[in-house]
């Protein structure tokens, strides 16, 4: 009789580690596929009638503006262009493929395919943003209604969907803060923004870009954001507080309301970074904590796909006091029609070309509409359940810990530390993450600076099954075990991925780095095309 294959896949009642290999195509650089003369697509030619009427228009251009050498783009037939990119795609590990809980703070949840499908309707893709409002009532209605959702979810009074990502929303919020202080004649004086070290770096970076000085608070002895430090930091120079909560560590700041009060008392505004509000939907809101501004990442909490790093959408919301400062236009409804309101003299103006990433907003709208209030709360609850379940498993692994607020629950992510394992074995967190790649998993260590030594931030969201969480934890355990027994194996990982350990040195050396193929060929002393 045959062996029972299924049984062979288990040991001690647990599934054995997945035998994985990522697709490896060893693809050439696209320029190497070029064959002079080949075409990937043909474009419409000018009609003969037109040509007869207007002649060769491009040729009539002055020489000083006419391109001389055609751009040295590759010349490739369509099947080969397609094949090249199809292969590259297989060498990429999207959330559709892996148990993507390792990008803590990134909220890698399921992006429903129906929403993508809806967003690809020509009724969405083929809309020009400057069409007459009468011809875009559908999308205006959708965006308007989505704003109403966000108002309810946050308790804020008005939103702008214009920011194209979380950081853009943070910047917009800083800009609104400045406008507010400016309107009160305090813009010069209030030049400090306070944040915490476990708030997303964009809070600090955006505020800095906007011209503010940054004060960064560190956790208190219990591992919570430090209220005393805040009290010491605020002053008449305080423009505002920009704070992520739960913090990147997964810890909810229980004194958040007092934080807000302290800043308010000092005359500052408070902006709530709710990029990943996943664990608190329907649980707690910006309003109740007293915030003046907040933002959501639709590409996190609201499920829109991350697209290798965008397009995303960062909706920013404010209280009624601040709404006049929001970017233009806002979308309003007169009981009959939806329309743009540009007539907002106090607005900070435009922050992007049109109204934000509308098709991303459509996906987020659809996501809310298929869950409703009860469903959103279920999202939150299961996200925290998953997170605490995974934490429970991870913390049983030798060499790992969850620093700060030790022994406490986490909301929807945990920043772990492999400090002990690193000390024991010499294997770093980064190496553990890369070894995980050999099992079809991965993680991103965490934001710098590594306040938590050898960090690793996991955020399982609501989208994964218990079995997937078990698998993830089992691989962590497996790799940690390897670190103790065969550290070299881990240090030289990945072994089953598309490529092997890269040489980082050239990337930081101006003589050797090459951001384009042409730069690379030049630095190699080669003509632009190879062979």
């Amino acid at each position: 009789m045959n062996p029972d294959i299924t049984k062979q896949r288990y040991a001690n009642g647990r599934p054995k580690a997945r035998r994985f290999h990522q697709a490896k195509w060893d693809e050439s650089i696209i320029f190497e596929l070029s064959n002079p003369g080949q075409r990937g697509i043909l474009v419409p030619e000018t009609e003969v009638d037109i040509h007869e009427k207007v002649g060769d228009v491009a040729a009539a251009l002055p020489k000083k503006i006419r391109r001389v050498e055609p751009p040295a783009l590759p010349e490739i037939s369509q099947p080969q262009v397609l094949r090249h990119y199809m292969r590259l795609s297989q060498e990429n590990l999207g959330t559709d493929f892996n148990i993507d809980v390792g990008q803590g703070t990134c909220t890698m949840k399921y992006s429903p395919k129906i929403n993508d499908l809806l967003s690809r309707s020509s009724k969405m893709t083929a809309l020009h943003p400057l069409q007459d409002e009468d011809t875009v009532q559908g999308i205006l209605e959708l965006m308007y209604k989505f704003e109403q959702f966000l108002k309810e979810i946050s308790g804020m009074d008005r939103f702008s969907l214009q920011p194209c990502a979380g950081s853009a929303a943070i910047y917009a919020n800083v800009s609104i803060m400045r406008a507010y202080h400016h309107a009160r004649g305090e813009a010069e004086q209030r030049d400090e923004i306070i944040t915490t070290i476990f708030s997303h770096p964009s809070n600090a970076a955006c505020a800095k870009t906007a011209g503010f000085k940054i004060i960064t608070l560190f956790p208190d002895d219990d591992g919570y954001p430090d209220l005393d430090a805040l009290k010491a930091a605020v002053s008449e120079r305080t423009a505002g507080l920009m704070i992520t909560n739960p913090e990147d560590t997964g810890i909810f700041n229980p004194k958040i309301e007092e934080f807000v009060k302290v800043v308010h008392n000092a005359g500052g505004l408070c902006s709530y970074d709710q990029a990943n509000a996943n664990g608190v939907l329907g649980i707690t809101r910006a309003k109740e904590a007293g915030f003046d501004l907040c933002h959501f990442n639709l590409h996190k909490t609201f499920s829109t796909p991350h697209g290798c790093g965008g397009p995303g959408s960062g909706a920013c919301g404010v209280t009624s006091e601040l709404q006049k400062f929001l970017p233009v236009p806002v979308i309003d409804f007169n009981g009959e029609n939806y329309y743009f309101d540009y007539n907002r003299p106090d607005s900070i103006g435009k922050i992007g070309p049109f109204y934000g990433n509308s098709s991303v907003i459509l996906k987020a709208y659809a996501w809310v509409m298929c869950l409703g209030a009860q469903g959103l709360r279920e999202v939150a609850e299961i996200a925290v359940l998953n997170n605490n379940y995974l934490m429970n498993k991870i913390l049983q692994i030798r060499g790992v810990s969850a620093p700060y607020a030790r022994g406490k629950r986490r909301i929807e992510q945990v920043r772990y530390s492999w400090e002990e394992l690193a000390a024991d074995t010499g294997v770093s967190s980064e190496q553990i993450g890369l070894r995980a790649v050999d099992f079809g998993l991965h993680y991103w260590t965490s934001h710098h600076p590594y306040i938590v030594p050898e960090p690793c931030t996991l955020e399982p969201t609501e989208s994964y099954t218990r079995e997937e969480l078990d698998e993830y934890a089992a691989i962590m355990e497996h790799v940690a075990g390897e670190a103790y027994t065969n550290p070299e194996l881990v240090k030289t990982a990945p072994h089953n991925s598309t490529i092997h350990t890269i040489d980082h040195a050239p990337l930081d050396d101006p003589e050797r780095w090459a951001v384009t193929w042409r730069a690379y060929r030049r630095k190699m002393g080669q003509p632009a095309t190879s062979e």
Binding site: P44, S497, W517, A519
Partner: protein
């Protein structure tokens, strides 16, 4: 009717039995425990007030499609709108690639598990580099507005100066963005244009430039569709004062037009939406910034830059972040501006587009657009009361049509054109009052002669009504 507990298809562990087992594995009584840190007074009492959901996918689909069906698209109508968002044919292969789950749902993996993304974006930058004739191109930022604003900040950091001269033929919305982004610490001055030719007024430029000038910024073609042919002179004026030349271009013109570096630009920026990305009501933008490969420039980019590098295996192409320590990811507020989610998928898409088009495709599409736009101008100009183009300059695919002599307002003309299922050009009467009743028209490779003739006929009727 369904008395069973509601199980959400997107939330696997919403099954009560599974929840229970997981809680017990953790040793928790209820999910409430995990929220222990949230003070009671911050807890939302009751349910959020949101519409009843459409739990069945079919119902959700019907709901959204019904809403969208109220839209009339630029495919259904004939649209002559441009002004920063362009209707072009999107090759099917572009969508095929950007819809691949591997690309669509990935985010921030390592150069190993996400090798494909690194290579595709490196290739995107490389092809843009060829189009622009420049060695460094960033991973796309949000849009051309952001690219312009950042290019200006880069110039300011590089020169250590605080003043920027900007050609007045800029999209007012973009100018507003630049003001929001740079206005708090840079002084922005507008440089006028010649009202006849539409070219930048070099005298005004000379009068305004100084040792405080960080950058001279202009667009080519300009917002009003004018091809600026004084690039060399402008660059010389800028460089003579130690300022940096920043030029924004529409990349789809570069099969025909000279890349700005060839007339002296130091930083080139723009928006890649025209390169294979649907308009999406303005949701298809992505910005590029390009420079020469000089450390002082490279180190001022806030964006990620992907570089090529060897791996442990001979002949294996590896990729990674170049000069990561510049970024806010690495050093928070000490980094250059910030980096975050931006528009990578559109970068990959534009790469596919350029790979499909190749040098000839880019040249031909430029020629087609120019010829058709020219034809439109000639035909429109023959209509009594219409002047097209308003400026004597060369134009690419956008141009100003002036209706002053018709005695009609653009807003009314455009409204009347809707009856013909035409979206007329963007009304400029408030943006550029000095142009009177003018509209910015755009013609691309999707506009057949028939479509243009339809416009001409419709306009004839509309203005004589």
């Amino acid at each position: 009717m369904n008395k069973k507990p509601l199980i959400y298809p997107y939330i696997p562990n919403s099954v009560p039995e599974i929840k229970k087992q997981m809680l017990s594995a953790i040793g928790a009584e209820s999910i409430e425990e995990f929220y222990a840190d949230i003070p009671d007074n911050l807890r939302l009492k009751g349910k959020m007030d949101l519409p009843e959901p459409f739990l069945a996918e079919y119902e959700l689909k019907t709901h959204v499609e019904t809403m969208l069906s109220k839209n009339r698209t630029a495919g259904e109508y004939t649209s002559f709108l441009g002004a920063g968002c362009y209707q072009h044919h999107v090759p099917a292969v572009c969508d095929e690639i950007n819809q691949r789950g591997e690309f669509l749902t990935a985010y921030a993996g390592e150069p190993y598990d996400d090798h494909g993304r690194f290579q595709a974006l490196f290739e995107y930058a490389s092809m843009m580099g060829e189009l622009l004739n420049m060695d460094v191109v960033n991973i796309p930022t949000y849009d051309g507005f952001q690219a312009a604003a950042t290019a200006i900040r880069m110039a300011s950091r590089i020169t250590g100066r605080g003043e920027v001269l900007i050609s007045r033929q800029i999209n007012p919305a973009k100018l507003s963005k630049i003001e929001d982004y740079c206005g708090h610490d840079l002084e922005l001055k507008l440089i006028d244009y010649d009202p006849a030719t539409g070219q930048i007024d070099l005298a005004a430029l000379r009068n305004n430039i100084s040792a405080n000038t960080a950058a001279v910024y202009f667009e080519n073609p300009s917002y009003l569709g004018v091809i600026e042919i004084q690039g060399d002179e402008i660059s010389t004026i800028a460089h003579d004062c130690g300022a940096i030349g920043v030029v924004a271009v529409n990349p789809i013109t570069l099969g025909v037009l000279k890349p700005p570096v060839e007339y002296g630009a130091d930083i080139v920026c723009g928006d890649i939406q025209p390169l294979g990305i649907h308009m999406q009501f303005g949701g298809g933008h992505a910005g590029f910034i390009a420079t020469r490969d000089e450390e002082k420039y490279v180190m001022e980019y806030p964006s990620r830059l992907f570089g090529i590098t060897p791996t442990a295996v001979e002949g294996e192409y590896g990729f990674g972040d170049v000069a990561y320590e510049r970024t806010s990811f690495a050093v928070r507020e000490k980094g250059k501006e910030w980096v975050g989610t931006a528009a990578a998928l559109w970068g990959i898409t534009a790469g596919v587009y350029l790979a499909l088009m190749g040098p000839e495709g880019m040249q031909e599409i430029g020629e087609t657009m120019m010829s058709r736009a020219k034809y439109a101008m000639v035909e429109l100009n023959e209509i009594q009361g219409i002047k097209a183009p308003l400026f004597t300059a060369h134009h690419f695919h956008e141009f100003v049509v002036n209706f002053n002599q018709t005695g009609k307002k653009v807003v009314d003309i455009n409204r009347a054109l809707l009856e013909y299922e035409i979206f007329g050009g963007t009304d400029l009467s408030t943006q550029f009052p000095e142009l009177g009743q003018s509209a910015l028209y755009c013609v691309t490779e999707v506009h057949t002669k028939t479509a243009i003739d339809h416009l001409v006929k419709a306009l004839k009727e509309v203005i004589t009504k």
